[in-house]
């Protein structure tokens, strides 16, 4: 009889385990049901939490469903429009994204993240003026917002305004020296500036004008090497003698 009890213990425990395992797996594809939050006093933010997980997991269409549930629960809830807009932007549904960004800002014009994300969408769409405008609005609300500064620097760089771009990238670094993004942006701006300078060198030199290391890429590689090894030879090639 004792062995029987061990048997029944085993199978009952295994059944419990099986039920949970199967349940988790099956549920992943079930549609969201706006009427059934798991807590009775849920606010629309409940669906924003679910949406955040779905975005993180790449289930963007389902995240849109979650955000729509939040909007259904409270059509005046600006953060839900803001997040759904971001999801639409990921899905390349630009029109829907812009409509939701607009609605979010109509409901709450102080949502800094919405200006930033809409600015990024405008940048992607090539509407640089509108992008600059959104980033500037974000910075009017939060002057030290690193993301806004960095993103505006990018747009300035795209438009060839490297001085403005550098100013914004450096402001971002000053605002938060631990945020690495702006360092990359600043590096890219300097790269663009270097390319621009080499181009000027080539344009103004004669047909024999050549860079000391052969090409812009060669120079950058040599400089990178000099910083790692301490061999400053590349710099010596840029020296010129005084005219006698």
């Amino acid at each position: 009889m004792r062995s029987l009890m061990r048997c029944i213990t085993l199978f009952v425990l295994l059944l419990w385990s099986a039920s949970l395992t199967l349940g988790v797996g099956l549920q992943a594809q079930e549609p969201l049901d706006c009427e059934d939050p798991f807590i009775p006093d849920a606010t629309p933010a409940y669906y924003l939490g679910q949406g955040a997980v779905l975005i993180e997991q790449g289930q963007v269409a389902r995240a849109v469903e979650a955000y729509s549930c939040a909007i259904e629960g409270d059509p005046t809830y600006a953060p839900a429009y803001a997040r759904r807009a971001y999801a639409y932007a990921i899905m390349l549904d630009d029109r829907a994204a812009l409509a939701d960004y607009e609605q979010a800002l109509t409901l709450d014009e102080t949502l800094v993240d919405v200006y930033i994300n809409r600015g990024a969408l405008y940048t992607t769409l090539g509407n640089y003026g509108l992008a600059i405008s959104d980033y500037s609005l974000a910075l009017a609300l939060e002057p030290d917002n690193v993301d806004a500064l960095n993103n505006r620097a990018v747009v300035h760089a795209i438009e060839g305004n490297y001085d403005l771009a550098l100013a914004d990238a450096q402001a971002a670094i000053a605002a938060d020296p631990d945020d690495v993004t702006a360092y990359a942006t600043q590096g890219a701006i300097y790269s663009a500036l270097s390319t621009q300078s080499y181009q000027t060198f080539i344009e103004r030199g004669d047909e024999y004008a050549r860079l000391p290391a052969g090409s812009p890429t060669g120079v950058m590689s040599a400089i990178d090497n000099s910083q790692r090894t301490g061999d400053m030879g590349i710099w010596l090639r840029f020296q010129v003698p005084a005219e006698q």
Partner: protein, 275 residues
Amino acid sequence: MIRRLFSSLLIAVLAMTLFTVPTLAQNTQEKELPECPIFEDQSTDVRISYYVGEGLGYQRSGNLGQATDSFDCVVLVIDPSYVTGYMLRGRVLAQQRLLEEAVDDYTRAIELDSSLIEAYNNRGVLYMSLGEYDEAAADFARTIDLDPNFIEGYNNQAILSALNEDVDGAITILETALSRSNIADILASLKNPDRPSDAEFPKFDSINARPYALLGIMNSLKALQNYEDYITLTRSGADSRITSAAGMLESQFTFELRLDDGSWLLQANYDPFKE
């Protein structure tokens, strides 16, 4: 509907393996406070809603560690008196096989709300898996004290009784469970030969049907016990048909009622997402 789902969520019984004796140490309270920056400037109910939604999203996708982090935000940072937060975290901890910590969470929930049937029930199941049968029995008894129609309490009491080698007691408990709902009447109506073929299938909570399944198991156990008694007495002279029948039953308990084709028995009622 919401209330039913909530109830279903809370009675989710948890995956088990045999572990050591629970200490009720407040392990979770020793955890470093998590960072919970989302909606930091918003009201408590907004923040709780967000992190509960996030936690359930992680749990649904099997990211149990992240689900625990979300529920940590609820009970360690936002509102240490939020009972549902402990229930939710307890369930995830149990899924992670952190049974003692899960017991702690249900205990905390009971401290905050001593009438919470689901917390007693879930803690009782955890105690069962930890081999603490006396504590489990007390918790299941408490569920029935609080609600004499709480069928899950009877079902779990019956399983516990069988584990304590009292199959007859288990059968009595299950028969009581059947008498506490209208499931027998529903069954009779379904078996009625005059029932129209196009009649709508009756609606009822499937948990009420489970005592029949458990009764089947208990009676099979009794049958096997009788077969084994016969084989013990007759030894090599046992009728081969009885020996075969005993072997088949034992095989069922070893194989058929396990993972592959036995999960029908308990799956729906222990899965809060299934509803």
